[in-house]
């Protein structure tokens, strides 16, 4: 398993990124965690629909996005808000979606990020199609797709991996192996030792990286992205991480894992080691920490406020986006829906 930063924050070998860049990424991790923590409490207050926390997976998401170009496609899931946000998906749009409003599914025109996939498995092949389109059109873009360990059990994972390999599409398959598919631990999902080894079945390179190691994730993703961009085809990356929170705000992890296990996982919190690394290099101090958290908190509150300021939808909202042009049936029904 590739590692560049130990849990204590000491650098093994040399950093793929200049210290300033690491500072920025650490700030993004702090922003993400603010977003995540506030989402959980908002949900408890009934202001958000079910929420899927990503605490513990910040290095995997922020580190991988750092290897992308702004116009690279992203196809991610319900648990990848940090990655989507880091790639340009506005926080208020993410919140709006989580309040239960389709308008949150529309990112700005220059943000090439699909709305998060709620179904498990079906979305990976979309990143194959998008990358294939770029290749056919001679566009210099790649596509990355995020998914979990559980998604690799779906038949659609197999078909997506196979199509990407057969057509050599510039696709990066980024698996966050956080140890569980809801309650089912990885070792009961499959008998292969790793997720990465599954790439062998498609003649595709597969790599394992410490998903809690910002620098290692960045380096592994950069390799895969460069390979894709230079017509080297797709790569499967297994980022080993851990979901510190529940599967969603409806879930009770005590039913399927121990407090000790969770404690041990917290000790591998991906933020700790980056902070330690920055501090060792005098590139970060308590005031940076405090200032960034305050900034993040304010930004998140603002995003929440603007999401909640969006007026309650009317019938046009329900009927208005089914087709480019409405139909007789939709018109008739919309008038019936409007008392």
């Amino acid at each position: 398993m590739d590692q560049l930063l130990t849990p204590q924050g000491e650098l093994l070998g040399e950093s793929p990124l200049p210290i300033e860049a690491v500072r920025d990424l650490y700030a993004q991790m702090l922003f993400s965690r603010q977003y995540d923590h506030k989402s959980v409490s908002l949900q408890k207050q009934g202001r958000l629909a079910t929420y899927a926390p990503f605490e513990g997976q910040e290095a995997a998401q922020i580190g991988s996005v750092a290897a992308l170009r702004a116009d690279d496609w992203m196809v991610a899931t319900y648990r990848d808000a940090a990655a989507m946000w880091a790639h340009g998906y506005p926080m208020d749009a993410l919140y709006l979606g989580r309040t239960g409003d389709e308008r949150g599914g529309r990112p700005p025109d220059d943000v090439p990020v699909l709305p998060p996939s709620i179904t498990v498995g079906g979305h990976m092949i979309h990143a194959v199609g998008l990358a294939w389109a770029a290749k056919l059109r001679g566009e210099d873009r790649i596509a990355i797709t995020y998914f979990g360990d559980g998604a690799t059990s779906e038949g659609d994972f197999h078909e997506a991996m196979n199509f990407a390999a057969v057509y050599e599409t510039p696709t990066v398959f980024f698996c966050q192996n956080n140890g569980y598919a809801i309650s089912l631990p990885m070792h009961r999902q499959t008998r292969s030792e790793t997720i990465a080894v599954k790439a062998t079945a498609y003649g595709m390179p597969g790599v394992i990286v410490d998903g809690n190691d910002l620098l290692a994730v960045y380096a592994a993703t950069k390799d895969a992205v460069d390979r894709a961009r230079s017509e080297g085809g797709p790569t499967l990356i297994e980022a080993r991480t851990y979901r510190i929170g529940p599967h969603t705000t409806n879930d009770d992890p005590a039913r399927y894992r121990s407090a000790d296990e969770e404690e041990e996982a917290r000790s591998r919190d991906p933020l700790i080691r980056v902070k330690a690394y920055l501090e060792d290099h005098d590139a970060w101090g308590d005031e940076d920490e405090a200032a960034t958290i305050a900034e993040a908190s304010a930004a998140v509150d603002e995003a929440i406020a603007s999401a909640e300021a969006v007026p309650v939808p009317d019938a046009a909202h329900v009927f208005g986006a089914m087709f480019a042009e409405t139909t007789l049936q939709l018109d008739e029904q919309q008038s019936q829906a409007t008392p």
């Binding site: 239960g100 709620i118 909202h317 049936q329």
Partner: protein
């Protein structure tokens, strides 16, 4: 007798089924350790062990395909899909294999399995968690399709489904899991598959529905009763086989029919019921047959949901216009 809500009645039925027959097993995503996302299978793992209550990988086609083989091999699997929106990866297994093996082997191989699918909206869920696709299962010859709206029926229909020699798609109205309670027998009993229930007798208009909409329709019937309109409310319970007798007898009596379902209108199962009525009761009909349904749109997220779901108001309005019509 114990007071149970619909969810508890289902859990109770699972205990009874597993206790009564060693061949009965339960499989699905998070059904064992976690007790199911709706806790329907809660406690079964402790009671019956990991060989009979089985957590599966996230692979719906695999769940149904494996259950198919298990059933042919002599077991009586109860397979759970977490939400109807996630039943489509298994749709091929259901329509091309589960529904056909008896016919294609001339009774030599059979598939006595139950496919449990929670369905319907009204609880502000995420995308894909509120679908009502009963029509796509009801259109598949070889499947029985049932859906309970009371705790009593939930237990009785599930036990009937487990005992059935053929595959039964068992649709569970999520919104009713904890919204309806009643005293139900503690011992096993079964409710015949293929018989509709007249939830309320009436003379002016027949309202036909199933699943979660039964609750809205009951409430609408109360409102209408206060204004002097007598509603006969039919909960079909079983889409396949459909109890056309109960439906046509009622419409012959009332001369008016309103069909209520949550699924999109176009191609919804309400069309089938309207067609049966238009074929068999035309000369008794005093007014057009109305359908109160979900719209031909994607099921909206939380903030738009109330604009989509048939409400008591919409049902009342439709019945009014039906009785006024002549």
């Amino acid at each position: 007798m114990t007071v149970r809500n619909l969810a508890q009645a289902l859990t109770d039925a699972h205990h009874a089924a597993l206790l009564a027959d060693d061949d009965v097993i339960v499989l699905g995503e998070d059904v064992a350790a976690n007790g199911g996302v709706f806790r329907i299978t809660d406690g079964l793992l402790d009671a019956f062990g990991p060989d009979r209550v089985i957590d599966t990988p996230v692979a719906e086609s695999g769940i149904v395909g494996a259950a198919f083989g298990l059933a042919i091999g002599g077991m009586r699997p109860i397979a759970e899909i977490q939400f109807m929106g996630f039943s489509t990866p298994a749709y091929d297994q259901v329509v091309n294999h589960v529904a056909r093996i008896r016919n294609r082997s001339r009774h030599r191989f059979t598939c006595p399995m139950v496919l449990r699918i929670p369905y319907g909206g009204g609880f502000g869920a995420a995308e894909h968690h509120s679908e009502s696709w009963e029509a796509i299962y009801a259109h598949t010859p070889g499947l029985k399709v049932v859906t309970p709206s009371t705790p009593y029926d939930a237990k009785g229909l599930l036990l009937a489904a487990v005992a059935d020699p053929d595959p039964v798609v068992f649709l569970e109205p999520i919104r009713l899991y904890r919204a309806v309670k009643e005293d139900i027998p503690d011992e096993p009993y079964s409710v015949e598959i293929g018989k509709a229930a007249v939830r309320r007798e009436g003379t002016d208009v027949t309202v036909i529905t199933w699943g979660a909409m039964t609750k809205e329709a009951r409430a609408a019937a109360e409102v209408l009763a206060d204004e002097g309109t007598s509603v006969e409310l039919i909960d079909i319970r079983s889409l396949v086989p459909l109890d056309t007798t109960t439906i046509t007898e009622s419409v012959h009596k009332t001369g008016r029919a309103v069909i209520v379902h949550e699924a999109p209108r176009t191609g919804g199962f309400g069309g089938e019921i309207a067609a049966v009525i238009a074929e068999r009761c035309l000369y008794s009909l005093l007014a057009p047959i109305h359908r109160v349904t979900g719209w031909d749109t994607v099921f909206p997220l939380k903030r738009g949901e109330s604009l989509y779901l048939p409400s008591v108001e919409r049902i009342v309005k439709a019945v009014r216009s039906t009785v006024e019509d002549r």
